[in-house]
Subunit: 115 residues, 2 copies
C-alpha cells in the first residue's frame, strides 16, 4: 500500500466506494464519473503504479484482473450485449490515478476509435 | 487453433502481418486500420474467443498479454508519453474478430470517454 494513494485507500475501505466485488487480490467499484450506464474499475490491492511497471512476477495477479473483469461484466448483465475494457497509461491517455486500474464500460454502444 | 479464424492464421504466419513481437504464447502485430500513430494488437496464439470466455486456467497467459503490451509499447517509445489498451467484447463494443485481442494505441492524445 502506498501512502496517499486514493485507490489503495478504496481497496482497504478507508475511502468509501460503491464496491461490487472484492477478493484477496483485487477489488471492483463503480467509477464516480461514469462514462457509460455501467462503468466499473478493477484494481489490484497491491500498489502497482501502471502499465509501465508490470512485473513478470505478477502474471497471475494480472490475469486475475482480466478474469474478474469478465465476471463482474457478466454479473452486470453485459456478457451478451458486450462491453469495453480500458487501461490507461501516462499523460497521452489521460490517466489520473497512478495505481493500475482497468475500466469496464458497457450498457451503451461504444464508438471507434476508443477516444 | 480454430479453422477460419483470421487471427489464428496471423499467429501462424499463414496470413501475413506487420509483426512486431512473437513468443511461444502470443504475437503482436500492427492493426491494418490504425486509429493512432501506433496501433498494435496483442493476441494469444491459443484461440480464446474473448472476454466472456476467459478461464482461470489461463491466468498466466492473460497476465503475459498485459506484460507484453507494456513491453511493446515501451519498444515503440510510448512509455513516457503514454498509451491506452483496449479489449472489446460483444456487439456493443464493435468487436469484429472473435479471437481475444488487446489493442495498444499511442502516439497521440487519447480522449475521454474511450469511445
Amino acid at each position: 500500500m502506498a501512502a496517499d494513494c486514493i485507490f489503495c485507500k478504496i481497496a482497504t475501505g478507508e475511502i468509501p466506494s460503491e464496491m461490487v466485488h472484492e477478493d484477496e487480490r483485487c477489488v471492483v467499484f463503480r467509477d464516480i464519473n461514469p462514462q457509460a450506464p455501467t462503468h466499473l474499475l478493477v484494481i489490484p490491492r497491491a500498489h502497482i503504479v501502471g502499465m509501465a511497471h508490470l512485473d513478470a512476477a505478477d502474471l497471475e495477479l494480472l490475469g486475475h484482473l482480466l478474469v474478474v473483469a469478465g465476471e463482474v461484466a457478466e454479473a452486470e448483465g453485459l456478457a451478451e450485449s458486450g462491453y469495453r475494457t480500458v487501461i490507461n497509461w501516462g499523460p497521452d491517455s489521460g490517466m489520473e490515478v497512478p495505481h493500475l486500474h482497468l475500466h469496464v464500460l458497457g450498457g451503451r454502444r461504444m464508438t471507434w476509435p476508443p477516444g
